[in-house]
Structure formats: C-alpha cells, structure tokens
C-alpha cells in the first residue's frame, strides 16, 4: 500500500493507483472528460490536471501513479483556472445546439460547463463542417459534436478489437472516422454501439427510431396495424437508471404496463423466445455432441461441428462473418431470441389471433444497437414473408418514449405479459448476462441428454464479469468443457485456441462457447442507459439472477408455453418448420465494402 495525501487528507491506496483514484478515496472529485473507467487512460482532454506540493507542474490525474509520501493538490486557483480555460477551449470547437442534441441533459461536457459556471463563450468559435455518417442504421456519427476524447477509438480498437474507427488527419483537423474515410456502413463496424455508450457527448449515438414507432402507434383507420412489442431480458434491470433508480432495479411488471400505456396492443417478452432459442440451440448442441461422441472429438473439431458457438448476439455474428469466416460451420444456426420472436409473432401468433401478418407492426426493445441491424441482416430475417421485426429500439429510446408520453413509470401498477409468447422461465431471462446463455443451455442440455431434471440449476462457474470464463460439467459421464467470452476484444484469444487445435489435428479445448460482444453481456449493451461501469454491470447482473431465482420454472424446457408452441405449431425442436422459421445461416463478409 502507498500512503499519500490529497489536499492534506491522508489516503492509503494500492500500488499503481492513480491520482484520480486516490482523490476519489479522499472524497475529492477531479473533473474528467476523456477518462472512462472501462478504458486505459488516453490522457487527451487535459482537464483532470493536478499538482504535487512543491511543484508548479500540472500532471494528469487520470494516468499519473501515486508515489509514497505524495502531497497531491487537486484544487487551487491556478488548477481550477487552467481546467476552466481548457473547457472553454473545447467549447469553442463545439456547437451550441444543446437543446437539439441527443445528449441534452446527459452530456458530460454540458455538465462540466455547468459545474464550472461558464456563462459566455470565452473564445471565438472554430467549428468543423463535417458530414453526419448514418450509414449503419444502428449508430450515427456526428463529427461536428466530437470532442476528440478518443474514447470511441479506444473502445473500438482495444476493448472490442474491431478497428472500425480511427483518428484521421492531424492537429486541428483531426477527426474520427473509419480508415481511409470509408463510411461506417462500409467499415468493419459490428454495430455493437459501445462507442455510443462511451461517448461523453452527442457525437456517436443510436439511430433514434422512436418516430417510426410513434407513427405506427398513432395510426388509425385503414392504415392502423396491430402493434406488438417484445422486451429483452436486459432492458428490465437497466431502464430504471434513466429514471434515477439504482442499476439492477427490476422493473419488468411496470415496463409491461408502460408499454401498454404507450399504445402497444400486445406485449410479449423476449425471454420467452430465449427459452425457444435454448430448445433449438440445445437440441443442435446435443445432436452435435452425440455425433462427436460417436466419431471422436478430433473428427468433430476437424469437421467444425465442435465446438458449437452461440449466435444470439448480432454484433458477434457480424464480427465472426468478418474476422472468423473459417469458423462459420461452428456457429449455431439458431436465430437470436429477437428474431425467433419476430418470426413467431407474424406466423404462429398472427394465425392464432387472426391478424394478417402484414397488418402487424412488430417492435422490439433491446439493450442493443446491433439489433437494429439484425432486423434486416439477411433474407432469413423475413421468414414470415414480411420483415419479422419491423423496428428495434434501444432501452434509451424506450426511456425517452415513456417520458414523452408522460408516463410515471416508477409508480405504475405491475402487469403480466400477454400469452402465449410472454411467460418465460428463469433460463430465458439470464440470457441478458454473460454466461447466461451457456447456463440456460446447460440446464436444458442436461435434461435432453439424461432425461432427468437437475437438482441444482445454478452453474455459478459461468457467471461473473471476468472476460473469459471456463467451466466443465459432467453429464452422463461425459465431461463437457465450456468457455464464455464477453467484450469482443476477449474472443480472439479463445477462437485462436480452437483454430490452433483444429489446425494441429487436436481436440477442441471446449465443446460449447458462448460469446457476447459487450462487456457483461447484454446488460452492458450499447443501447443501455449511459454510465455503465463494472460496478453498474455487476448490479444489473445481480438484478437478472435475482429475477431468475424468483421464477417458478428455471429451465427452458419446463416452460408450459414452449411445450404449447411445439405441440401446436413447431412440432419438435429442429423440425423442418423450426428450421424454416427459427434458423439462419452465415456468409463470409469483407471488412471494407468497395
């Protein structure tokens, strides 16, 4: 431990702790802009400066390690004035259209300006007239608002290992864009939206599609459609943050009520189709495993039927098609819960409810920006004959809609989702957290292989926030080895080991791999309320698992409504009909179009 003082207050910190961390311990807040706890300090903005007693030199608190006996000064007139001038400089390059900005009242620069009492433009404006890039349909890049803090670049390159965006140009003309000034839509971008979740200002944000939803909800007469909505597992434990609640607060019942009040005719829950995904993917896994047990794991590895890799995450699907096309055969063909729900709504439910599929407007509320892209990813997303999911909006967009509608979310009565695509099991809801798909799959795979129910459904080894997790489970005398990776930057290491084993003729180290593109899984998705840190993610994860604990059924195959849809419509998991509606395929894609 290191002893130091912050403004005279003694503090003990761990070796390697920064001035910023030491100050936090002393309950002193040093203002920051480019710093984000998820990322290695990029040290660009120059706002977090502090001094060491006896020196007039200013050091960056975000990246300067504390030394034994250091007397840190965080606030003196010189420091505060310097910070203020730097903020004023940044404001001189930033448009003043806060009122029309997607980050209004949620902008870190705006907050700084407010805290520093800035009441006038200190310096002449120097704005850049740069075009908006909305070519992905998922996220929008507005370089005019960009403060060049570099967070998005660090996220995209270091955290996610995608390398879609880069700094271009130098000096005053530096800007953020894909390499060679390609458009985002032509770049390796996987639409995970982590850039937008980390952007401190309104420079990268989700493509706001609330207007399309409002229009559909408000249509009357001939044009009116039946509006059906589904909400993803991760939304329920994060939406509250947009209304001032603690992360992890479970608002499931209130959200159903709010959706109804917004005007949706039918409210379903994606957790139900997560159960459906488990049935399809679990069956697929058991089939592949059986074959591997017969013919040897080495052969299965060579033939790319083992390991099976999950495919619920559209950003991950995009990444694999671009960076690991040789592993496409390892990918589960099961669609994501969003798309399964979409297909079921416009086929099974439409028939049941006697509504023409072309008269259904299907909306999904997702923690994710890539889900917007997934709705039209390829032709299998139109398996009902129409676009299965018409619009996907993020948690942030839903929060805005609820506020626009004047709905007092926190005091709403709770309600239940509609049947039959509403009721779900605990297995369905844990899809929202890293390790959750794996755990849900194991719960059902055990049943499918052994025919017995598990005594304890909790596979705690696959839970938690560490980037790569491994576990092994004994099923009928077979040791199943599984790996879980979340945060895109962690996956390359795992897949390279599989590749290596395959190319060297060895057995794959794992039978089943779960991948989620965002840190913490969907609860840390790019469309969730701002301000996710590991602390926040852990609380959201706890909310998810608490929800699971409280469910009567905790394994997908136990869901009575799942049984019902197979009986009435889908026949059995992996049937011809299930394949038509609930499965997809993958194609190698170039990193850069053109």
């Amino acid at each position: 431990m290191i002893n130091c003082k912050v403004n005279g207050i003694p503090v003990q910190v761990a070796e390697g702790a920064t001035i910023l961390e030491a100050s936090k311990k002393a309950n002193v807040k040093i203002p920051t802009l480019c710093y984000n706890p998820d990322l290695a300090p990029w040290a660009a903005c120059g706002i977090c400066v502090a001094k060491i007693e006896g020196s007039n030199k200013m050091l960056r608190a975000c990246c300067t390690p504390v030394a034994e006996g250091m007397n840190i000064i965080t606030h003196d007139p010189d420091i505060v004035e310097t910070r203020k001038t730097v903020i004023e400089m940044i404001l001189s390059t930033h448009p003043d259209d806060c009122l029309a900005c997607p980050r209004n009242q949620n902008c870190e620069l705006q907050t700084l300006a407010q805290e520093f009492g800035i009441r006038e433009q200190a310096f002449p404006k120097m704005l850049h007239d740069l075009p908006i890039d909305d070519t992905t349909g998922s996220i929008v890049l507005n370089p005019e608002k960009c403060v060049r803090c570099g967070r998005c670049v660090t996220v995209c390159q270091q955290m996610q290992n995608v390398w879609a965006i880069e700094f271009l140009g130098r000096g005053e003309t530096i800007r953020i864009a894909p390499a060679a000034d390609a458009k985002l839509g032509e770049s390796p971008c996987i639409k995970c939206g982590q850039c937008s979740a980390h952007c401190p200002v309104g420079a990268i944000y989700e493509n706001d599609q609330t207007k399309i939803v409002w229009d559909a909800l408000r249509k009357t007469g001939e044009d009116a459609k039946t509006c059906v909505v589904q909400i993803a597992p991760a939304v329920r434990v994060a939406l509250g943050e947009a209304f001032g609640l603690q992360p992890g607060t479970d608002l499931t019942g209130k959200i159903y009520t709010a959706l109804k009040r917004l005007g949706f005719d039918v409210v379903f829950d994606t957790s139900f189709s997560a159960d459906l995904t488990i049935m399809e993917e679990g069956t697929e896994f058991v089939k592949r495993l059986t074959s591997a047990l017969q013919n040897g794991l080495g052969a299965a590895t060579r033939e790319k039927s083992m390991p099976l890799i999950t495919s619920c995450c559209p950003a991950w699907v995009d990444y694999l098609e671009k960076y690991f096309p040789d592993m496409i055969p390892n990918f589960s063909t099961a669609k994501s819960p969003q798309q399964m729900m979409g297909a079921m709504i416009k086929t099974y439910w439409a028939e049941k409810a006697n509504v023409r599929p072309d008269k259904i407007f299907s909306v999904s509320v997702m923690p994710c920006t890539a889900k917007k892209f997934e709705t039209h990813r390829d032709e299998t997303m139109y398996s009902s004959g129409y676009q299965d999911v018409d619009v996907s909006i993020t948690t942030r967009e839903l929060a805005r809609m609820i506020k626009q509608a004047g709905i007092d979310l926190l005091n709403l009565p709770e309600s239940e989702p509609d049947s039959p695509l509403g009721p779900y099991t605990g297995a369905g809801v844990i899809f929202g957290a890293t390790g959750g798909v794996m755990e849900a799959a194991l719960r059902t795979a055990y049943y499918l292989v052994t025919g017995n129910e598990l005594k304890d459904v909790n596979f705690t080894a696959v839970r938690g926030i560490s980037g790569i997790k491994e576990a092994s489970v004994h099923v009928n005398g077979v040791e199943l080895r599984v790996a879980i990776a979340h945060q895109m930057g962690n996956i390359e290491q795992v897949l390279n080991e599989v590749r290596k084993a395959r190319d060297e003729g060895r057995d794959t180290p794992w039978h089943f791999i779960e991948v989620m593109a965002c840190r913490g899984g969907c609860i840390g998705g790019g469309g969730q309320p701002y301000g996710a840190t590991d602390e926040v993610r852990k609380l959201r994860i706890r909310g998810i698992y608490d929800h699971d604990e409280g469910k009567e059924y905790r394994c997908s195959h136990q869901n009575p409504y799942i049984k019902k849809v197979y009986n009435e419509f889908l026949e059995k998991p992996g049937s011809h009909k299930a394949h038509e509606l609930l499965h997809t395929h993958y194609t190698e894609r170039p990193l850069f179009l053109k």
């Binding site: 990029w42 400066v49 300067t64 004035e81 700094f167 000096g171 005053e172």
Partner: protein, 596 residues
C-alpha cells in the same frame, strides 16, 4: 607514398547545395589532368560549420581556408596550391572585407570561441570511410567498454560526466541508462532520435553527415551498458545525405566486425537499423517516436511509464538524441572528469547550435556550456547583418522564447535559458533584428505548431489554432485588447495542461514576446501600426511628392501595377490596389517611397 597536400571539401548539405560535390569532382579531375594525382588526397568531409561562407575548402598542411569556392576554382587551386605550392589568395577568408589579412582557422573569430567534441570529426574526416574515423580514436571507446569495463562502470562514467540529453529536456543520460539497465526484460532497445525538426536547426543532420560512426559507436556502447542487442536510428526522410552516410557507416562497421554478431569476438551482439520518419515534428517527442517505429500514429502517450522502463513494444528502451550519443565515445576515452571540467555547475560539456537569422556568420557552432549568448552572437556570429540593431534571439525553435539584449550576458545552461522564459531545445538559435516584428515571428512559430500538433490533446490542438487566429487578427490590424488577454490565458493553460512538450512549449514564443515587447503588440492593436513593417496589412506605401523626381523606376518595378504618374512628375500609389510587396520602396533611390 606520401601525399604532399590534403584538400578537404565540405560535403555538408549546405555546401552540397552550393555545388560542393562539383568542386570535389573538378578537383579530382584537375589533379588528374595536371598530373599531380599522387601528390594530393582530396577528401569530402562533413560540415565545417561556417555555412555562411560555404562552400568551404581547406588545404593541409598549409591550413589554407578557402571560402565561397566555386566549381570553376578547382583548376586554380590545383595549379597554385598543389603544383606551385602557393595559396590562392583571392579565395582565402578575410576577417574584414577591406583588409588583405588572410586568416587561418585559428585566426577566424567564428572558430575561436568554439570547442568541438560532438563535431570533432566534422570537416576533418571522410565520413564515408570508417578507417578515417578509427584513425582518430574511433571505436577505441567501444573496445574499452567491451573488454575493460563492466556495464556498471560505463554507466557510472557517463553519470560522473554530467552528460545530459541534448534533445532539449536535459535529462541526465547516465540515469536514463541506469534505469534501463535495472529494468528486467528479455529484450531491450536503444533508439537514436535523429528526428530533428525545429525550423532552422541542423545540428543532428550535420553530425550524422560528418561523423556517423560517432553515433553508431555510442549506440553499441549504450547497448552493452543496458543489455540491449538492437538499436534503431529514427531519422527523418528529408535527410537523404545523412541517411546515405548512415547506411554506408553501418555496412562498414558490420564488415569490420564492429557491429552485428559477436562484436570484436567479445560475445556481444548489436545491430542497428534505420527507421525513416515522415517529418512530423511531434515524432521527435520520445513516446510519439516509439509509436511511429511500432507502425502506429505518431502520438504521444502519457509518462510514466517512461520508455526506459516500458518503451518500444513495451520493452525498456533508451532514447538518446544524436548529439547526446556523439559525446559518449569521447567521454569514455578522455574520461568523465575531463568532460565535467567544461561547462556550468549543472550543465557540462559543450552544446552545438545552428546559428541563423540576421547574423553575419550563420553556421554550425559548438561551444562550452556557460558561454554567453553575447559571445555567440557577437564574437562567433560576428554580430548583426548590415549593422542593424539586435532585437532578440530565439533559442529552442518553436518551443523556445525570445531572449533580449539585457539578458545576453547570461551563461548558457539548461536552467538559465528556462529562467529566461526560453529553453535549450535541440539547439536552434535564430537571431532577429529591428526589421523583425514580434507579432509576425510569433505567428510564424504558432503556424508551425498548428501544422505540427498531432491533435490528440485538446489544449494543444485547440490552443495553437486559437492563438494563431488571434495573432493573425492582430497582425491584420483587427485586434482588440481582449485578444492580448486571451493569448496569455490560452497560452498559460496550454503550457500547463498539454500532454507533451509540443503543446507545453508552443506558447513560449508568443508569451515571451508579449512579455518583452508588449508595447509592440499594443501598437498593432491600438495604432494599427507595425514598426518593423512586416505585417503587410498594417503597412501603407505612399510617395512623397516633394522627393519624387518622376523617374518611373518604382512604377516599372511594381508588379500590380498600381503606381502611375507622368515622366518627371511626382508619382502616386493607388493604395487600394497595392499588394505591399515593398518593391517600390526598395527601388527608389531618392527615399521618396514612404512606408508607414
């Protein structure tokens, strides 16, 4: 076979661009033609330093110092000096234009106060011949380091010498080496920073051009001292001659077993590779330089960790600049005590400066630390051109500040220059006279920083551009007093909050000129007047009708043209069309064109 004469032709970039290569070839051809080929050895050397008078040719043993030599002079030099044993009087350097006293090197004031350690071989040896370097004790230090000293002893010797980084910051070299030695790692690196980028500076280029082996030898020594087996020279691609000579030197050193595997059978391996920089000024900053070698954008990263702990590809790396390294072999052959006997208390040894601007003897000089600026400018530099009044001297290039008359007697050291609001920098020294405008000069340096800012940190990226815009506004006569305050406000914040020293020092030229010449700034703002006449928008040319005789010369010189008038009658300038090029002012023999 002994040569009777040796002719040394300067092969520095300056003299080369004044056709010294042609002089060299002509001398060779003439020696052949006049049948004295075996009597004379003609050598192309590195820079002599006296660039003002280049191309330089020096003949030994007579010590004849020829200046401003032209290729056609080769015939006469061979015929007189080699064949007849007489000096070519007309080419000899004279102290004063009027006197007939020719001067030997030791008589030339330009050289008198100089002391050459770094430039010891420049202008003396053929840089493309390793044997000439070896003949002057070259690689002797390496031999000692490999066979007579432990790495700890080498580091102790460098520490004892008091050698500090010559790239600008002045960090003690021995301590840097010690840190890297102590760092535990399988791989370590030595990097030579040859990314010299200050406008008007060419110390490092000349050192490599004139004596590449001194740098290479030092890199191998540093490698042995810290336990590195690989070195990189990061040099800007705009230095083709230096790169060429470096390549030749590396090849020769490898051929002689002085570089590569098992150097001199010592069991120590060391290789050097060249990495070309694309000319970004910020890549002279060590962390940006390393990023550039790694193939990334040249952008600084925060320190700590310092490169000596975690540098190139995360491995301990010593980065020393060219001049720092060139000192090393001499320190190890002559001893730390000898080196430390020169200079001031905290700044030891010598410093090389590129002396340019409004000075009589511009060129490359090396003086002991502690020499005063006055000695450099007025003794070595021979004072201000055309008898004009000295206004200030800019040290440290775009990162430094202006130093004025009253501070000229300050002995030069790292600390003293910082105390004057400037800095040592890498050694550029630009002298300004009364015709230089401080607003114009500040704007020039700020334009440079705007271009060279990498754009990473907001204080530098925005601050340089804001300050440039304000300076531009003032220079155009649109300034307000508030702009002066803003210049100081932004400058101060930029200095304190920038990530690297590019931004940390970019405001220095502006802030120091505001400090010393505030009245001139105010003159620009309030009176819309530029006393030096440099800020074109503030200058008005007119013709004094009483003095004008109507010769029409000004009208003929005017490129617009905007001067009209009948023959032998006073002419008139149409101010609305005048582009303020000043041609009429220069042309008028009667002082009738008035600049105001």
């Amino acid at each position: 076979m002994a040569y009777k004469n040796f002719i040394l032709v300067c092969g520095g970039t300056g003299c080369e661009s004044s056709r010294s290569d042609e002089i060299y070839r002509n001398l060779l051809a003439e020696a052949e033609a006049q049948g004295v080929k075996s009597d004379v050895q003609i050598v192309k050397t590195g820079c002599f330093g006296f660039c003002e008078k280049g191309p330089i040719v020096k003949v030994l043993p007579s010590e004849s110092f020829y200046v401003e030599v032209k290729p056609e002079d080769a015939k006469e030099i061979i015929a007189e000096q080699v064949v007849k044993g007489r000096e070519v009087k007309r080419l000899l350097y004279r102290k004063e234009q009027k006197t007939q006293d020719s001067a030997k090197v030791e008589d030339i004031e330009f050289y008198q106060k100089q002391f050459r350690i770094v430039l010891r071989n420049c202008g003396v040896i053929n840089p493309e011949n390793i044997e000439e370097y070896i003949a002057r004790d070259g690689y002797r230090a390496l031999e000692r380091v490999l066979f007579e000293m432990t790495p700890e002893q080498v580091i102790a010797e460098i520490k004892a010498s008091g050698l500090r980084g010559r790239g600008g910051a002045g960090f003690p070299t021995g301590i840097k080496w010690e840190t890297a030695r102590k760092a535990v790692s399988d791989v370590k690196y030595i990097v030579c920073n040859a990314d010299e980028g200050d406008p008007g500076a060419y110390m490092d280029r000349s050192t490599i051009e004139g004596d590449p082996h001194s740098v290479l030898e030092a890199m191998i020594i540093a490698g042995k001292a810290i336990g590195a087996n690989m070195g990189y020279v990061y040099i800007r691609a705009e230095y083709p001659l230096a790169i060429e000579r470096l390549k030749t030197a590396i090849a020769q050193a490898k051929e002689m077993g002085l570089m590569g595997k098992n150097i001199l059978n010592s069991g120590f391996d060391f290789d050097v590779e060249i990495r070309l920089g694309a000319g970004a000024f910020v890549c002279g900053e060590e962390t940006a330089l390393l990023k550039s070698i790694e193939g990334n954008r040249g952008m600084p990263v925060p320190k700590p960790p310092f490169p000596a702990e975690k540098g190139l590809w995360g491995k301990p790396t010593v980065i020393n600049n060219v001049e720092t390294l060139a000192n090393v072999p001499v320190i190890l052959t002559k001893g730390a005590a000898w080196f430390a006997s020169m200079g001031t208390e905290k700044s030891k040894g010598t410093k090389v400066f590129a002396l340019t601007g409004k000075i009589n003897n511009s060129g490359l000089i090396e003086v002991p630390m502690g020499t005063t600026l006055r000695e450099i400018i007025f003794d070595i530099g021979g004072g201000i051109k055309g008898g004009k009044k000295f206004k200030g001297v800019q040290t440290g290039g775009p990162s430094g500040g202006i130093i004025v008359e009253k501070d000229l007697d300050t002995p030069i050291s790292y600390e003293s220059l910082v105390a004057l609001g400037s800095m040592m920098g890498s050694g550029g020294m630009i002298v300004m006279d009364e015709d230089d405008c401080v607003v114009d000069v500040s704007k020039f340096y700020m334009a440079f920083c705007v271009d060279e800012s990498c754009g990473k940190c907001s204080p530098c990226r925005i601050g340089t551009k804001q300050m440039y815009n304000l300076l531009d506004k003032i220079s155009k006569g649109n300034g307000e007093m508030k702009d002066l305050e803003n210049l100081e406000k932004i400058g101060k914040a930029m200095t304190k909050a920038s990530l690297c020293m590019l931004g940390g020092s970019a405001a220095n030229p502006t802030l120091s000129t505001i400090r010393h010449f505030r009245d001139e700034y105010i003159e620009h703002i309030v009176d819309h007047k530029c006393r030096a006449g440099k800020c074109k928008d503030l200058v008005v040319y007119s013709i004094d009708a009483e003095k004008c005789i109507g010769c029409g010369l000004c009208a003929r010189k005017c490129p617009v043209p905007c001067i009209t008038g009948e023959k032998k009658k006073p002419h008139v300038i149409d101010a609305s069309r005048c582009i303020k090029c000043g041609e009429c002012f220069k042309a008028c023999k009667f002082g009738a064109v008035v600049k105001s």
